[in-house]
Amino acid sequence: MQIVDYILNVLHGNLGLDPFYKVPVTTLIGKYLPRTLELVIPATILSVVIGLVTGAIAASNRNKPTDYFIRGVYLVTWASPPFFVATVLQLVVAYYLGLLPPTGTVNPLLPAPKDITPFPILNAMLTGDWSYFWSLVHHMVLPTISIALVSFGIVTRIARASMLDYMESDFARLSLMKGLSRRKVVYGVVLRNASIPIVTLVALLFGYSVAGAVVIEDVYDYHGMGYFITQAIENLDYTSVLGTTIVVGISIIIANLVADILYGILDPRVRVVE
């Protein structure tokens, strides 16, 4: 009967009490989830952009060195454990080159701006606290790029395949026949069409990115959902993990909705007839 109670509670928006901190799980998720979303949302967009561009370049240079190079790169990043990509980036960019901070969420010496929204970066912007804002951005860059790196491969793969399909299509051939330049046909006509199936990937990609973020945050000691889950695992805190799973599920449903809306905007064939 415990499970019935739990489900009833969940339906009322109550995910239970964290046994370790003795605070509601929703409160903790409310604190950590926005920080992870600040990484995952830009990372999802970034991986779509990287994937589309590399997919298009690979397709238009089919079976040439550029194509093999791009396929090699996405093979390696795709087959990499997320923590490995993060570790290598951290070593090279943060430790050896010293370009960005290797760990942390924000400079701990800076006072946090007022909580207007759950998102620290929005709070910093709304209060005009630009030094806090830049510190956040500095700490976000490497985790975001790491997440994008482990997930862009699937976009490249699908974009490349659908570009190759569309390049043989009659409308691409007719566009060439009209006397348009090859560049215009590939990047205007074909890429525009090939980007439509990518949109359906957005929700999947978002899920990938969330899973990647959990691990990557650990490497960068960034205090988001990854930190929260790692703590929960160490304490064998089942309530928090279950609550997290439910929240991740909900956010993926939302990502699906966003993908559907984008699809409608990009493809005139599914638009409602005025």
């Binding site: 409308f171 051939r173 009209k178 006397g179 090859r182 525009r192 493809d267």
Partner: protein, 324 residues
């Protein structure tokens, strides 16, 4: 000024397959005069579409061509992809079989037509206002008897019927005014009534702009209605080439005879269609000698041994041992 527009010299086309390079078109020699309409007729797999695509240089990457494609003293066969652009559109234009795939599905019809008009003005070195382009495009759509041209321009391709799209594509040709138009089975996907209207538009295009047309079809009666000349292809080779009336009245090659006798005559005394028995050969296993010999009703011993060449006969060309 010579009358010759296009001359194919020993044009041979290969496809790369699992077992290596396979010849699908073998040494085609063909010339097309200015203002001429040539119907290229053959069954599916005869290499007629491949030939059309080769002239437009639109073959897929797994193909290669040998020989020359001389269009107005330019050898299209020897041009690089980047050099082809300036001949596409205004020199050669091509129309495809399936109208549902011919237009970019995510762009409105109007801009797609305007692009064509812009290409021609750019080549002519003229600067024109967007407004004039729109007016010219609307005029063309009206000529094509498309209802409410204004709203057609604002629609997406999926909101038009197959016949309407095919007319829009012919509209592009009217805007580009190409010297040579290659039409690859442009009416096969259309209803018979729409087919007749579209065929009429091709004739109009030919008469008004003097555009030469290579009309590729499997339907010899359709070729008869439109063309001045008929070229019959089989297994990647020209089998017969001559004036449309003569070929229809007195076909020389047994294959052409088969095609002609398969046309329904409409008189009741002959209500049986004479289809040619058998199937066209696969390019992987072409028969020795004359490629048509296994299906030919006048086959002789020599047909199985040696392939005949294309010879002049009664002002036409024919590839058959009966005439050598």
């Amino acid at each position: 000024m010579s009358k010759l527009l296009l001359e194919l010299k020993d044009l041979t086309i290969f496809y790369k397959t699992l077992i290596g390079w396979v010849k699908v078109v073998e040494s085609v020699n063909l010339s097309v005069d200015k203002g001429e309409i040539v119907g290229v007729v053959g069954e599916s797999g005869s290499g007629k579409s491949t030939l059309g695509n080769a002239i437009a240089r639109l073959l897929p990457p797994n193909s290669k061509i040998q020989g020359d494609i001389m269009l107005d003293n330019v050898n299209l066969a020897k041009l690089k992809e980047s050099q082809l652009q300036k001949y596409r559109g205004t020199s050669v234009f091509m129309i495809f079989q399936n109208p549902l795939n011919s237009l970019n599905p995510v762009k409105k019809v109007g801009p797609q037509l305007l692009e064509a008009a812009k290409v021609r003005y750019n080549r002519e070195g003229k600067k024109v206002e967007e407004k004039e382009l729109v007016e010219e495009t609307l005029k063309v759509l009206k000529e094509l008897r498309l209802p409410d041209p204004q709203s057609i321009m604002e629609r997406y391709p999926h909101q038009l019927s197959g016949g309407q799209v095919q007319r829009v594509v012919i509209g592009m040709a009217l805007l580009l005014k190409p010297k040579l138009l290659i039409a690859d089975e442009p009416t096969s996907a259309l209803d018979v009534t729409v087919q007749a209207q579209v065929v009429k538009l091709f004739r109009q295009l030919n008469e008004e702009l003097g555009t030469s047309i290579i009309f590729i079809t499997h339907d010899i009666s359709l070729a008869y209605v439109l063309s001045n000349r008929i070229v019959v292809m089989y297994a990647g080779r020209i089998m017969e080439d001559g004036d449309v009336d003569e070929v229809l009245r007195k076909p020389l090659h047994p294959y052409t005879q088969g095609l002609v006798s398969s046309i329904p005559k409409g008189n009741k005394s002959q209500n049986r269609l004479n289809a040619i028995p058998g199937n066209p050969p696969s390019f992987f296993v072409l028969p020795g000698g004359c490629k048509f010999n296994p299906r030919c009703n006048k086959v002789m011993e020599v047909c199985k041994q040696k392939e005949p060449s294309l010879v002049e006969k009664e002002g036409r060309r024919v590839r058959c041992w009966l005439y050598e």
